[in-house]
Symmetry: D3
Subunit: 241 residues, 6 copies
């Protein structure tokens, strides 16, 4: 049975809230992910993981917020970004909407590092003056269990953006889409030393194909399935059922 | 072949932009839709229609913005709303992101009436000072072709919110989800005269089950399939291929 | 007797509020109105109509907000525009000021189409969380009674901006000003097909003299007097006395 | 001949700008003015003065901004106030609108002390980065010439709010309105020592009839005519013709 | 004993609030002060004066807000400015933080004229709806006692920016720093007539060395010590102990 | 010789910029630091460290921004906090001010963990669209060299807020102030497990004396001197001279 909030009616939510105050909010980004990674990786991965976690823990899952803070990727076509100030406002209002209905435990499953500052800012804004909200931020690719797998199978080639791990996960969840991705790309030389943060232009000049230190040619749907399951298991344990 | 931006790589978008400057942006809302309508109707319908239109016209489709301006539905659990000011800011920044990459023709497929003022405000903000952007707003349920069908099959019972038409469309696109919706609901008496606009409380007091003048028990997946196709055809004609 | 709030003392307002909670707020714009229409048409017409409606229905009338959302007219000198975000903020604060004193029924008499999205946004913001405010938006040129008259006397030549109707109304209310308007202007060819919305530059390129499909040389003060009275009568009926 | 921008057509403004870059912007407030002063005094006085100055100096006059920063008067019914942040945004956008058309010399005729901080803030915002705008702020009641007259005829009884001077000016410009003002009011005891600034509640507790140290029963239309002329003369001299 | 809030622990503040609700907030600016004045004059002077006043009156002193509204000085390197809108927001939140803990009497010691509009705006925002806050704004260089001394010793050469008075005060409080200031500067000709307000560029063009009418070569640490003491005495009297 | 921007004249900055584009910006917070830690620890430590680093590397140091994002500490008196949205705006404008003068390399020395999200947000905003700014964020207490010392001397008792390390550093830099801190406080029981983030109330309920897992009775000025020097050395190495 689905636990997607969007696929319920409001009386079903009213019923749910009588016994449970938890909800999962998947957030991600729409941004370049290197020469062979899909632009939607960050929201598609968190959305797919969230749906599975919802089913397993019988916890409602809100629709995904597909857009995040990706200004530094804006020199690559296809990236769609909010500024930090607007993104914080959006997050704040979405959390407050849910709080108004009685939700009290918010688990954010996040697929993009650039969202973390804004998420923390939004938590602070919503918590200010309130007593009993609980926010849990889960950056799925930071889960130790995921890290162990990636280290073992990809080593340093997992990289920091367009990683083997996230490309693999979406190769598993979006196999059809990857069939259309050209495979004759050539990687630019891998850059290991660079300043941070970067402007969009600096980013493209430094990482001309969009990857940061990864070799996503190692990514496979088989790896993806395993990482997906590892992430789901780990998050389910954190949430309980 | 999919035309979802999220399921492409950035070099594929770069290639696309060499010959075409058009993109479709599906927007909707996460809000109550009466006793038997799904909360996600507004974004699910525009997203499904947009994907099909994208395939048919070979036009890229951005990820859906699942949240809109639904403050007046906030007295029903499950609704998630942005304020108009924040929503306008989000829309403005998403359009500007796309414009920065070279997109020039923006077709917004919208599934929610409450979004229309903010969409118009965002168009004005983006157009101010710029010369050659083209925005086309398509509220799919307002398409004359859709209206003809709805009038013939539902008459006045189509209503204004949680309409037979939109419930039908999502019965077609989300059949699984509707199987879990309880069918033993009872409609509140239908209210035909009311002031507008309304506060969340007024709305719930007036329309205690969330519908506005509709009889969504008339909705069927078969109707939905037809309306879906009518809408897709009509929009494809507006866009060209 | 005047019902202009500005021409009362605060004890007179305190007295009024003991028996009545209604107020009329005239809003308009300061923007180009074609080769022979006054720049202030939109606020002057709504202000004049509002004053008369106030007298007839014994309802207070706030001062006019002379500036609105006219970004698309900014390529014509004399236009003064707020951005949508600022305009919504202004409207919100003005409505809230009145609500704080006890006003509960707000009738906005509007003279400019470009204001409608912002007005709706402001209504939503003020209504959010409140129970008993009533907002009525009257776009005077959209009144069916006005439409009947304009259709009969101007037909298609009434147009969409700098219409025969609004120019006529202000010829009636501001006869002196029209005496100074040069009459030797020449209309640019009338454009019937165009995309919408437009940037300021597109607007001026498309409608080089500022009109949209109207032939304002048909406007007369005599027509204006009739339309003015039709509008006032229709609004009085909506408000009651 | 009128010099009201609102009563011109855009080609007339285009013509004007070929030889002159100056414009007068009247700003005021809608706020209580004691037991016998009109609520609109601040914008009505600046608007009337501005119109006359425009005619005399052949300088365009924008429509009045009838609302300002009057939060401290909000405990008296009829007051309509913007917050400082919104008021600054409005002023900034109006000045920028005019600057876009080529206006370079802005004379603001102001009728309300509470507006001064926001006006200065807006000047700073518009001037930041620009080279050749000239802003002149004229608070008409602060003109030394006006002060001399008021001191001679009212002495200390002129006061600081709902002054004899401003009530007189509007008795001259709005004689009809004053005929309806009840004259049987009784002044609360005059308070001479008080802290500043004040909250709305403190203001009403301290100055229970709305005046600040004035005896507006001394105001007359005859005085008003003289003060009006003194102010107009003084401002014309500052502007030149 | 110090009365710096920053040099206390929170239990010490809790104790203080049991008997006293007053706090001093020093604000200033980081901006050019002519050829021989330190960039930090405005916050260093108000911070030093505030600390001494705090000790003498046993009143807590918040840390200094070192940045203010100095857009008009931005054409001189070293100036750091907030926009008015942001500065008002900062001030508002700092006052509200203190009010939340129970502080009720706020004495702002200000060192920069350009801050005054924003300070007044922030007072209005905080006071709106509240009953019992007391704000006292002390622009130390405007104190009549200071003016008497400056007039006697510097006359017109005190000027309006980079004044003899403020340079002197910081020569007294920051003697070490002045030892490193080159003394071989040459003043540009003194300008006595100029429009106001000014853009950054106009300011630098008009006052090419940053002074406004002052001859800061008259400044000495000895004068500074006297002015410092005069200001401290005068403020202590206003505050009481 | 000092390298404090505030203690220079603008011609000295103009000179400096001819050969160097670097500046250090110290940021911190004004917030409770447990029963025996000073409220100003976060800005005092970063300010003192920054000044020393400036001298050693001959790099200019801006005045400190004494206020940061400390909403979660607001249930303890003395804390002064900005909201994240305002704090991001302030940081953005200060960086942009410096950039306008030609500074290109910005080293932020930060003393408070709660500031990190806002700092990253501000970097993103400033970098958006620009090519050659370099931001380096140094959270001094996170420096590995500092961690080694703290681990060796305090172990787990260093804690996470009001740490032995930061209390020690300010015992070294502000010995006088610590003489007045009562030493008869009693620690509440140390809490090791807690959710995060927290509202102000949750924070105070959980950590009733303000510490998070630290035993600041271990702090000494001698330790502080060593940590201070370790931090300064490490940062100087990062910056170069």
């Amino acid at each position: 049975m689905t636990y997607n909030l969007a696929e319920k009616t409001w009386p079903m939510i009213e019923e749910y809230l009588k016994s449970k105050k938890s909800i999962i909010i998947p957030v991600g980004s729409t941004e370049q992910h290197g020469p062979n990674g899909l632009i939607g990786i960050d929201y598609m991965s968190s959305w797919e993981i969230a749906k599975k976690v919802g089913e397993r823990t019988k916890t409602l899952v809100s629709p995904p917020l597909c857009f995040g803070m990706a200004l530094h990727h804006m020199a690559f076509p296809g990236t769609m970004s909010l500024t930090p100030l607007t993104y914080v406002a959006v997050l704040t209002e979405l959390f407050q909407s849910l709080a108004k209905h009685g939700f009290r435990h918010f688990t954010v499953i996040n697929g993009h590092g650039g969202n973390i500052p804004s998420l923390n800012a939004a938590f602070s804004q919503v918590l200010n003056g309130e007593q009993d909200y609980q926010f849990k931020l889960i950056n799925w690719w930071h889960l130790p269990e995921v890290g162990v797998y990636e280290k073992e199978h990809f080593g340093d080639a997992n990289g920091f953006h367009a990683t083997c791990g996230e490309v693999s996960v979406t190769m598993h969840t979006h196999q059809e889409a990857y069939k259309e991705v050209p495979t004759n790309f050539k990687f630019a030389p891998t850059v290991r030393e660079y300043p941070w943060p970067m402007s969009p232009q600096q980013f493209r000049t430094t990482f001309s194909d969009g990857r940061m230190g990864s070799d996503p040619s190692l990514a496979t749907a088989a790896h993806g399935e395993k990482i997906f399951n590892i992430a789901v298991d780990a998050i389910c344990q954190k949430i309980g059922s």
